[in-house]
Symmetry: C2
Subunit: 320 residues, 2 copies
C-alpha cells in the first residue's frame, strides 16, 4: 500500500519503474543522491542506472552526503557510469578506479560540498535522487535513515526522483530536523544550542512540481559492520569513565556530564556502550552517525537525547 | 594630568610607584598580564618586578594574551621570575630558557586559555596587571592597543593592578568591544555576524574594589618590525586581486567582496597594502592584529571597517 506514503495525491501519477526513472538521468548530468555512511541511500535507481549503462553507456558526476551502501559505488564503477565523484566514498572498486585516474574524485570535508554549491563554485545538480519514507500532503520529502546533503541536493536540483522505500518504518517520520542555514555574506549562527533543540522541519521542503519520478523500493540499508565490544575497547571505556568520574568529583562537571560527541566505528561504538555501566545519567550526545550503542544507551535509561546525520545499525539492531 | 584618566575619584588614592605595585605580586602567584602581539602590554610593573627579583628572588606563573613587547619576557627571564609561562611568546632569551627546561611553557591556541580558566582546568590568576587608557566613572578599565585575554584576567583575578599609560591617545576610548561569552554547557553563539557589529562594552567591567594599585607610565608600545612591500609581495597581491576580480566577474562576489580576514607579518601586510590599487570598494576586515596596511586602506577610502584583537604599528604609523 505505497499510496499511503504519497500523501499528495497529484503525485501518484509519477510512480514509475526504477528503469524508467533511471532513464531520466542523461549522459553528462550532475546527480545528487541521498546516502550518508551507507544509510538512507537511494537503492533502486542507481542500480537501474548501472544496469542501463551496461547496454547504453553514459557518464555522470555523482555527489552524495557520504558513502553509499549496498555496493552501489561498486556497481556504478563497474558499469563505467562515474566520470566524477565527491565528496566521500569507501568502496574498494571505486577507490582503485580513482587511483587509476579513471574516475575524478574530490575528497572533501562533508560540510563543504553544499557551501561550494551555494557559492556557485560547483555545478548545481541537474537531478537529485532521494530515498524517502513518505511524501507529505505538501509534496515535501520525508527522508529515511540519513540526511547529510540530501535536502540541499533536492532544493538545488531542477528535477527530483524520490525512492519510497517500504522497508523503512513509517515511524521515522517526525525524527528529522531539516534546517537550511542563511546564505553568506549575511550568514547568522545556526540557532541550535542544546542537543534536543529542534529548529527545522521534519520534511525537505521543495516544490512538488520538481518531482519527476517516484520509484517504490523495498530493500533495507546495508547493516553496519562494527565489531562488538571486547576486552580492549572495554579497557578504553573504563579509562574514559574514570577520567569523567574524576572531573565530576573535582566539581568541573555534573553527573550529567556535558553533551558527548561520539565518533564512528567499532571502537567508538564499544566505548559508548561502556557508559551503560557508568554512574552518569541523563546524558546527551551529538554524533555524525548514530550506531547501535546510541540505542543501547537509550534503552538502558542512560541517554536522554541524541542527534546525528544518519543511523547505521547492525543486523541485530535493525531487527528491533 | 593623569587624574583626568582616573574618573572614579575614590581610586586616586590607589596611585603608587611601579615598585610598590610590583611588591603586591608575591612569590608563587599566578599573574595575568595584558599584551597581545607586543601591543598594550603593561610596561612599568613587569619591569619593576624583574628589578625587584634581582634583589629578592621570586617566581610566578605568567599568562598573557599573546607576546609582550619592550623586551619584558627577556627581562623577566633574566631575573629568574618565570616559573611557568603561557600561552604564547616570541622572545629568544625566554625560548632558550624554555628549551633548557628552566621555564615550563604551554604553547596554546590563544582562544583556549580563558576557556580552561573558566572550566577550572587552570588555576585562576591571583592578580592581573592591565594597561589602560583610562578608568571610567564606574571604575571600569579602558584597555589600550590590545584586548586578548585582558578582560577575563581582570574579571577572574582577586586583585587588579592598572597601568595608566599616558603615551596612548585618549581617543582609544570607545574603540573596544568587550564581550564575555556565556558559559558552557549553556553557551550561546556570539551574536557578532557583521564586521561592524558592536556587542559589548567599551571598558572591562570589574568591581573597582579589586583595583589594589594604579601605576602611571609613559612608554610607547614596541614598534612593529614588519618590512615594507617589495616586488615579491606586490606580485602576491596582484595574483590575489586578479583572482578576486575573476570571482566578481563570475558573479560569485560583489565589488565589495566578502569580509576579508588578514593574517599578520610582512607578507600579509604588504598583500593587504596591494588592495589600495584594486577596483574593490567598501571592504571590511576581521583580523587578529591590525597592522599598518589596515590604516593605509582606511585612509585610501578602500576599507570601511576592521576589527581585531590588537593594533601593532610601525614607528611611522605610530607617529600619525
Amino acid at each position: 500500500m505505497y499510496r499511503d506514503r504519497i500523501r499528495l495525491s497529484s503525485l501518484h501519477s509519477k510512480v514509475m519503474s526504477a528503469a524508467d526513472a533511471a532513464g531520466l538521468i542523461e549522459d553528462g548530468m550532475t546527480v545528487g543522491m541521498s546516502g550518508f555512511t551507507r544509510a538512507g541511500e537511494a537503492k533502486a535507481v542507481p542500480h537501474a542506472l548501472a544496469e542501463r549503462a551496461k547496454q547504453s553507456p553514459l557518464k555522470i558526476s555523482l555527489m552524495t552526503g557520504a558513502s553509499l551502501g549496498n555496493d552501489l559505488d561498486k556497481q556504478l564503477t563497474e558499469a563505467g557510469v562515474l566520470a566524477r565523484r565527491m565528496p566521500f566514498q569507501v568502496d574498494s572498486t571505486l577507490r582503485k578506479a580513482i587511483n587509476d585516474g579513471k574516475v575524478m574524485f574530490i575528497d572533501q570535508h562533508l560540510s563543504e560540498t553544499v557551501e561550494q554549491l551555494r557559492n556557485q563554485q560547483l555545478k548545481l545538480p541537474d537531478i537529485a535522487v532521494i530515498e524517502a519514507v513518505a511524501i507529505t500532503e505538501q509534496g515535501h520529502i520525508v527522508p529515511t535513515t540519513s540526511v547529510g546533503n540530501s535536502a540541499s541536493f533536492a532544493i538545488f536540483a531542477k528535477q527530483v526522483i524520490v525512492e519510497i522505500n517500504l522497508s523503512h518504518n513509517t515511524n521515522l517520520e517526525g525524527l528529522h530536523d531539516i534546517y537550511i542555514p542563511t546564505y553568506r555574506p549575511t550568514r547568522t549562527p545556526i540557532p541550535l544550542v542544546k542537543v534536543d533543540d529542534r529548529i527545522g522541519s521534519s520534511a525537505i521542503p521543495i516544490d512538488p512540481a520538481k518531482i519527476v519520478g517516484i520509484v517504490i523500493s523495498n530493500q533495507p540499508d546495508s547493516p553496519s559492520t562494527v565489531l562488538p565490544p571486547d576486552g580492549e575497547t572495554q579497557g578504553i571505556a573504563d579509562h574514559l569513565i574514570n577520567f569523567l568520574k574524576k572531573e565530576v568529583d573535582a566539581g568541573r562537571m555534573t553527573n550529567k556530564l556535558g553533551p558527548l560527541q561520539a565518533g564512528i566505528g567499532s571502537i567508538a561504538n564499544a566505548v559508548m556502550c561502556g557508559l551503560i555501566d557508568s554512574p552518569f545519567e541523563d546524558l546527551t550526545m551529538y554524533s555524525e552517525v548514530l550506531q547501535d550503542s546510541t540505542f543501547d544507551l537509550i534503552d538502558a535509561g542512560k541517554l536522554s537525547f541524541a542527534s546525528g546525520s544518519s543511523i547505521t545499525l547492525s543486523t541485530r539492531r535493525n531487527a528491533d
